[in-house]
Amino acid sequence: MLEIRELRKRFAGGSDAPGGKVALDGIGFSVRPGEMFGFVGANGAGKTTTMRIVMGVLQADSGSVSWQDRPLGADARQRFGYMPEERGLYQKMRVAEQIEYFGRLHGLSAPAAKKATDDLLERLGLTERRADAVQALSLGNQQRVQLAVALVHEPEVLVLDEPFSGLDPIAVDALATALQERCRGGVPVIFSSHQLELVERLCDSVGIVSAGRMVATGTVAELRAAEGDTLRVVVRDPAPGWADGLPGTVSVQGERHTLRTTGGDDQEILRRAMKAGHVEHFGVEQPTLTEIFKEAVA
């Protein structure tokens, strides 16, 4: 299990922020083997800083990161896979050499790195481009090389910062499949994203971060339960003031009135609606992650 506890980080302020800026204010969460963890939050909320600290690229002021019940050190971290938000490759280096090089840096022996590279190139459909310089590749293919660099050493943990940004829908599906494969193999996967439908679809659990704190965390179902279901009633051309005294809010679009509420006696609401006009829709809806997110960071 990967456990992140009480991370705090303050960046030294420049002339515009003399006191410095608090980036993380005691963030914490944990990810189990085989769990896909979605990390969501507004820009500047602290997602990238958290991931950089997990990867040892930044040092936290306080707090800890542990992996398999031990403080995470450089040796264990070498077996992690990382894709930073800002992508980067050696533009002039050949594709296969580059992937192999990163395999070696992550501790693979030369033959193992070579074999892993060949396998990955095959799976990503880049075998013919293996001897090309990275800069000669299309953007989509460069993204694949970037992924290969993160996966070459069969990482024990995957940390991906905005891996889906800038991908076309087909590439999104391909990446999602690749991540799910790793996950099924028992690898904890953490990724951040602004594409909440994607997070909702892929992730077992979600952490919502705001201003350097974790404001909500749990499985999507748990978050939904905490948020509560919404009753939505649509009435066509009702009598004025039909909803007076009922809980929730009414929005009007032409002759359609929509009542949304999370409480109250649903049977009573239905009776009132039927009396007022033609009921077009009456149903209980689960909140989307977007709604939960907006509620959580509000």
Partner: protein, 370 residues
Amino acid sequence: MNGLMLVARREIATQIRTRAFVIGLVVTVLLVSVVSFLPKIMGGGGDSYTLGLVNSQQLPLQTAAPDIGFEWRTYADEAAARQAVLDGDVDAALVDGARVLTDGEIDAQLGVLLQSVNREFKLGAAGVAIPPLEMRSVGADTRYESARQGVATVLVFLLFMLLMGQMVMVAMGVVEEKGSRIVEILLASVRPWQLLGGKILGLGVVGLINLVAILVVGLGAASVSGLAADFPPGMAGLMVSVLVWFVLGYAFFATLSAALASLVSRQEEVSSVLTPLTMMIMATYFVSFYVLNEPSGLLASVLSYVPPFSAMVMPVRMAAAEVPMWQTAASMAVMALAVLVVLKLGSTVYERAVLRTGARLKFGEVLRAR
């Protein structure tokens, strides 16, 4: 350690495969060989004379001046000899063992030689033996002064070119990694000191390959061309210490270069951020040239202990004059100490600055920030 070696190996493999490296190496090697043969080609006639002889005996000039070549040609009469002198076939002609014909004033060296050898020869024939004066220098050994100057000039130029070139390569490499953001993935698997150290080590090896190739080809060509005969004793020791000085000087400048380069994010900014360092290395170069004229002067003695000047001034002093062993060792120790300080300083700045992409950072600010 493994990470450091992997980074270094990538740098070496990447560099030596570039066309710039291969062409650069071939061109410098050719240049060095040409320079080694140049004195032979240019000054061919300088130290040998052709002499005409009419009705005279050959003078034992060769015994008096073993380094100079003499060729004698016999002519039937004075008229033929005079024509040969005028045609430039001979430098001078000795007639009847009493007169020397020349075209204009006689070459000073040749004139003195002819006079004194003639005198000695005649006296010897009369039974008077004069023991030759024994020459003994009580000052510095100046026999090889011009050869020493030549060697020193070539060395200081070599050191300057290589230090400058490799320093810029280090800076470009650092900015390439910072600007392309690949540094973040790298730092997730290796420590900053491994990345920095590997880069400096790798490019240093590339520089050493260049330097060794030039020295080996230069010395080889010099011994083939006969130039090596003029070299002062202790050339091998000098070459070894030049290698040591390159390593020290390179470590100093390359580390600072990497630290400065880590402050910027774009290749276009490299040359401006390196300006102070370029000035420093230029100053070192010019001072070394000045020292060349007065290798035993006060300035030379003082600066040969002051890093980073010592990295070029000391090898120049060593080539141009004789320097006691302990002075070399002391100067190297001071420089090595400076390298350690710079390594500490440079790696701190690099570690803090290399992830902060965007606007150019200030050296002092990065160093002061916690």
